[in-house]
Amino acid sequence: MCDSCGCPADNSTSARRIDLAQDILSRNNDIAGHNRRHLRDRAIFCLNIISAPGSGKTSFLERLGRDYGRETAMAVIVGDQQTDNDQRRLQEAGLAAVQINTGAACHLDADMVHRAMHKLDLASCKLLIIENIGNMVCPTAYDLGEELRIAVISTPEGEDKPAKYPDLILSSDVLLINKVDLLPYLTFDLQECCRQVEEIKPGLPVFAVSATSGEGMAAFWQWLKERWPAE
């Protein structure tokens, strides 16, 4: 319709379509690419760990630090909405750690990680681990510059967690099922859990572990080291 007199003649031909085909998170992805190059140049292997709150991410990293920290220099960037509790726990386990408090945000983005990276002394670091905010959905959309994405679920969460939260399984390179020391007290069906994972992401490596007892840690560490480019 004509704008000036309201007649049916269409003279608003100025509308133009612009094809973009642009990733909505392209800004994040650019910074993630920068992080990745920065770390690769320094031969630092980077992991992004994602799970629900309380699955045992920090406990797992404390254990990893205690068991393998002398063999491989590790640093952790840990995100939580508030507090620096996890940073302190990780430091007590002998790891270099820097805390990000996101306040309202439900995920870490590449820019937060970039700023945190520059707060760490990465000179001797071989492995940089990012503990994401406890959330199984939002963090999956954000590339942080990691080489591998690690999903964690834990046995008290139930064996149908993969079916309930397929986004995380789909976007991950490996799944850890933590707290297997609790299996005798739960009805958690490990086989059924693995079957669900297989349906969502065929061939995804799965490790049953316990951050408390240390069970399964060595097998995972072995697998991880095989993914690392030779030094």
Binding site: R17, L20, L170, S171, P202
Partner: protein, 110 residues
């Protein structure tokens, strides 16, 4: 609930593009969102309604096409089925080839 921050990224791209193309008004925004991209369409629409007023996209129509999840055999390109995790022809594990898109496909400006 990161749909707000996703929408902020969309509105930023829309504003940058419109300025670069010397437009004064955005009439339409086309998005392609994967079924497994970790984004809720309703929440994204809500975020648009809450955040677009007083931006250059205030009068724009938001068109979202949802991209379904699709698996394929990486070796022989046979499409995957939900019941099978391995290709019956060559035993390769199926790979996801579609369904995690988060894309702004096009905008229409004046």
């Amino acid at each position: 609930m990161h749909e707000m921050s996703i929408m902020q990224n969309i509105l930023d791209i829309v504003a940058e593009t419109t300025a670069r193309e010397q437009g004064t008004r955005v009439t339409r925004i086309d998005l392609a969102i994967g079924e497994r991209a970790g984004v809720m369409i309703d929440a994204l629409t809500f975020a648009f309604e809450a955040m677009s007023p007083r931006t250059i996209a205030a009068e724009a129509e938001l068109i979202i096409s949802e991209i379904p999840l699709r698996y394929q055999c990486p070796t022989c390109a046979r499409p995957g089925t939900e019941q099978l995790s391995q290709c019956p022809a060559c035993a390769s594990f199926y790979e996801m080839v579609q369904g995690r898109e988060l894309q702004i496909t096009a905008i229409e400006i004046e």
